[in-house]
Structures are given as C-alpha cells and as structure tokens.
Subunit: 145 residues, 6 copies
C-alpha cells in the first residue's frame, strides 16, 4: 500500500480511494472517529470509516447503525460478527470478510469455529438453490406453527 | 395444499413437485428417512427431503452433508441454524427461511434473537455494497494479523 | 389464473401484469410474435413475450438477442437451455426456471439430466462461497496456461 | 506468487491463505490428495484443495461431493463443467471461474464454446431480472405440462 | 388477504406475519407511524412498517435511515426511487418492487420511464457478468482519472 | 499494466485477457469500434469492447443493445448511468463500477450525487432483505392501484 499526500491511498493498481485521516478530519468527522474508538476500545480507525468520511452524513448514519445493531443484546457480539461474516462471504465482499473475520477473532472465534461457519455458509448456499430449483412447497406446519 | 394421488402435491397454482411419501419410498429412500428422523428425534419428513428423494443419490448426499455440517461442534447447533437463516434471508430462499427459522426456534431462538439476527443481515447486506462500491482497500493489519 | 378484459391477467392475488394478446397486438408486435412462432415452430406466445410487448422496443430487442444467442452453434440448443436453467435457479427466477426447464425438456432433457444439473448448480453455489471465503489464490498454472 | 515457509502463500498484497502442501500433509489429508490425483489422472493438487485441507473434515466432504456430482452420468463431464462455469460467472467467483474454465478446456471446450456459454449466461442474467421485475405470471401450461 | 384478530394477516397460504396496526401500537410505535405519515403526507401505514413494528428499535432505526437517505438532496426523490426499484429488481424483492414502483409513480415515473429503467437493469445485469467472466482489466484511465 | 505482443494484456498477476486493438482488428470489428467512438464522441476504445471483440458476434450484439438502451429517452442518459452504477455496485462488478462511474461523471454526476446514490444502493440492499426475511405481504393497494 502506498500512502500519498492528501489522504489518497493506492493499493497496487487499485483506484485511489479517498480516505480521511484523523489529522485531516473536520471536527464533525473526528467526533465520529472518537466515538468509534471509544466504543470499540481501540486506538485506530480502519479504511471503511475513513472512506465513508468523505461524505460525513453517511459516516455518521452508518456508524450509528453499526453501533446499535452490533451491541450486545439477545445475541452476543461474537454471534453477531459470525452472522456478519456469513453474509459477507455469501456476497463476496472482500473488505467485509477481512474486517469482520478480524472482529470475530477478537471476540473469541478460533480456526475451528471459522471452518464450521464456512461449512454452514457453503451448504446453505447449496440447499437454497435446491429448494428454489425444485420449487419445494413450504410445509403446512412451517406456515402455521 | 391439496394432496393428489401419486404423491403429487399442488400448492395453490404451484407447479406440482413430486414428493416421495414414506409409504411409497424404496428401501434406499426409507433408510435415509429413518436416519433423518432418528438423528433429529422427530417423527415426520419435511417436503425438502421428500422432493430430493425423487433422485435418491442427491437425497443421500445432501442428508450426509447436513448431518455432518449441522452437528454440534466448535459452534453449537443453534448458532449454526441462525447462520443458515442469515444466508437464506440474504438469498431469499422462501423454503429455507421457513424451515431453518423453525429449526432455530426449536433450538432456542426467540423473537428478540430473530429480530437482532435480521438486523445484522440487513446491515451486512448494506455495508457489503458500500465497501465494494467505494473500492475500499483492505487495511494492512487485516491482511497480516 | 383469471383472464380479464383488456388483456389483464391476474394470478391469485398477483398484481395485474399487462399482457398483450395476439388479437390486440399492433402490427409491429405481431411481426415479432410471428417470428417467435416461426423460429420456435410453435403456435402460441408465452407470457414473457406478452409482458415485454407492452414496450415494443424491448420486445424486439430481447427477441433478437434470444434468437441469436440460443441458436445452434458451437453449443447445441439443449446445452444452452440447461445453462439457462442453471443461471435461473442460481438467481431464483421463477418464471425463467419454468420456461427454460420446459424448453430443455422439449429439447431432450429428462429427469435424470435435470437432477444432475441441479446437483451441479447446488455444488457450484457452495464451492463458489468456499473459494471466496477462504480467499484462495488462483494457481499460477490457471493464470498462465 | 511468493512461497513462504510453513505453507503460507502470499499473492501480491493478498492475505496469506494457509495451503497444506503434500509434503506437509497428514496421512488423512494425503489420502484425499491421492484420491483426487488418481480420479482426475493428474499429478498435482490445486490451491482450492490445499486451502480446504486446513480443515480435513471439510476437505474430505467437499471432495466426496465433487467426485460424485461431477462424474459422468446422464450429463457428461464437459457439460457439467460448463454449467459450473456458468454459475461461477453469475456469482463472480474468481477462483472457480479459472479452475472450471481450465477443467472445461481440458475436457474439450474451445474458445467458440466458451464465448457462447458466456453469451447465454449474460442473457439469462438479463431476462431473469426482466421476468422478475415485470412480475410475469407463469403460464398455465408450464405449471401443468 | 384475510384479516385476523390480533393483527395477524394471512395472504393466501402465506405464513402469518405479525403486523402492528396503528390502533394496537404502543406510543413509541405510534410516534414513528405519525412521523412517517407526516413526512410522506399520507394517511396510512404500509405493511413494511407494520411488520418492522414488531421490533420497535428496528422500526425506528430503519425509518430514520429511510427518511435521511430518501430526502431531496443532490439527487431528487424520483431518481432515488428509481435507483431503489433498480436494486429491488436486481435482488428480486417482491415487496420492495411493489412499494418503490408505487412511490416512483407517485413522484412522476410513467410507463415509458419504467420500461427504460427495466431495460437498463436487465442490460447491466448482463454486462456485469460479461465483464466479470471475461476478467476484463480496468483501463488505466478509469483508475487514474 | 504490461502490454504484450499479440494484444495480450497482463494486469499484475491477472490472467491474460485477449484484447483486440484497433490496429489488429478485422474490418467487421473496426466498424463497431468506429460506431462506438462516433456515438460516444470519443477517440478511444475501452477494454470491455476490446475483450468482447474476441467474439465479434457478441461485440456487435452487446454494442447494439447498449446503444439502444442508453440513448436519451424517457430517462436521460445521466439517470441511466446512475442506475447502471447502482446495479453494478449491488453485483460487485469492478469493471462496470469503474466504467459507468466514469461515464456518469462525464454526464454530470458529482461527488455529492455519487454519495447519495451509494447511500440508496446500500439502504435498498438492506430493506430488500428485511422485506424478504419478514415475509411481508404486499399491500392490497400496491397490487391493485
């Protein structure tokens, strides 16, 4: 990764994505960065937030959503991160696969858990197509439990 | 649902999907049905298996995969079912959404857990597109943890 | 299915999709209908074409594409129909699954072939996610054969 | 591609995916590798299998599925590979597009066949959306052939 | 549609989705309903909001997002609705296709505009696969404009 | 990017995609290239067309489709390009995201418009899953407007 002036980062031949560094951020953006770091108890901001910061309303809105949805609740945060990985793998989002796998590991996911998660994701993507392709009618007892 | 002769089931205007009832099943298929019921400790076979049974090699192969992948392991079965629901919702598989939500509920998922699962699925599908659309480079520390 | 006046067809509670019947079609649309029937050696027009006919430029454009792409060539029409089914199952397009499965059967696909096609589709959807999820690097010999 | 010690392979900036080389494989994994090479009559193991080998139960399970599903049957192996390519292109799985295109070529697919396959895939992805978007009702004769 | 007691609605054979009617809503939910009706200048609540209301935090969060994102801005609301339709057609979300097509029509979209929107959606879904399938390298001038 | 002989272009480790340069093109292909440049009032051919040119029937067919669909009509070209970007982001087509974002910018899209487009795309991908996952019945007034 080559860091250029003006916060532009180039990855190999990758198009330059404008990333807003903390040092260059407006007070509005820094407030969000501070909240991310405080909430997550970390001391750095990842590229996802730096990229969204180019449009501060989006940065704020998405952070508020993530903060609310990923907080501990009826599901604990590790389970939530694993669900996030499952969706990201299904959709082939490279960035999200990396960031949420890292988050899941930080919350306790080990290699064995990841392998089983991947196995479920693969199998579900398979049986989803079999169920759709065979036009299987939903059982009465599933409709009216 | 209207049950016709010969195991054909018609759902409303739905195309007839051939479902193999236990009573009409070959010994090979019955063996799989028995294993499903024994493994799951239930006394009935759902339409997914009855539809696959029209091609016994597929029935056997898929059941063996499901049995292996969904067994308790590093992840417990409830978490696996919730991951299955997450993928099925992402892919909009009606049958799988019904059957795996039912399975998850049977394993302990309540309404609050389902609502949070759906919230994560929705949010992940959103941020997957933002990350891809903004061409966000993966942070160095995610690549080389 | 209930046929209403003015070519509106209602399927159960389904929203009314405007379908242009031959009898009500403009000369421009009839010309396309005639070409479809002549090319396919059939005597009826299916709902897909009747729906597109509400926008004649789209009807003509899509028919010209289908006629060109699905003609016999390096791949024979049956193989092309099976590829069409595979994509339609992957994408869960109900209409296309029905129409192209019918077309494939008309061209020689039997139940055993369909079952194997479905098995490949399911497996491919599974391994696609495993390959993406595990971030597997493409082998040098695949890049430079 | 840079080969590192301990079987870690780094592709450009790509995250290190753990690939299990034959020389470092357990007897259990080697048994699967041997079966792959014997079945396919080749003398090498590709990265997909080497990556799955990090979780031997998944390696075995997926290989058994691939062996069964891709064997000659009602459909011949070349047709099966082309269906695999079609799904992989639809889902944008880079690894699978490469590996299955290579497999299809090895089984007889030439450039003209590949171009026609791609044309069908593109067209099907288009008409799938038109059919869904226009909410086209499935013709009665497709439901009850 | 059959309206049952307790706000359960059954559509044909459709599973009962719990919809929270205004009359049965808590003050918290009614506040959101009121804001929706005031913002949109309408006098009714659609099923999407009534379904989300079963989990009030989700109802509030999603409404706040929709209100912010769909407001007039650099893009006018009609363009935003058409983009919403385009995504919903691509993903085959039946509910969203209906509701956002209705919203777009209310904001000025006519049949000719919808037909052209659908044509672009279909073509984009086609060329997306051709570009991915042919592994076309991004032109230098697109990466560094 | 490294230009090789015979029109093969290699991008980093990217597989060689055969791109047909104007200088090496047949009269048939040059005719299409000329039409593209004349229609778009540009003096260069991008890699998408150069790649399709390896199969001239596909080059011609796709160009004719693009020319027809993207022409000014009930929707203006800028709106059409933004819809194209929305679909390409949803499907994660890297090439198309780049080329159509460039085209949209050339037609007047600025950063603020792009940010709002991305916000709608993300939100639509989220609510599509919520609507599908909650199995929300389509309101009667949407079905029968």
């Amino acid at each position: 990764m080559v860091a250029c002036a003006a916060g532009l980062v180039k990855e190999g031949n990758e198009t330059m994505t404008r990333l807003v560094e903390y040092a260059d951020a407006s007070p509005e953006v820094r407030a969000v960065y501070d909240d991310i770091m405080a909430t997550r108890r970390i001391d750095w901001i990842n590229n996802f937030w730096k990229a969204l910061a180019a449009h501060p309303p989006t940065l704020k809105r998405i952070w508020e959503n993530v903060k609310a949805v990923m907080a501990p609740g009826a599901l604990d945060p590790l389970v939530k991160e694993m669900i996030y990985v499952a969706v990201s793998v299904t959709n082939n989002c490279e960035y999200c696969m990396h960031s949420h796998t890292a988050a899941a590991r930080a919350k306790g996911m080990d290699d064995a858990m990841l392998a089983e998660l991947m196995a479920v994701v693969g199998l579900a993507n398979e049986t989803n197509r079999l169920a759709n392709g065979y036009r299987i009618p939903v059982d009465e007892r599933f409709r009216n439990p």
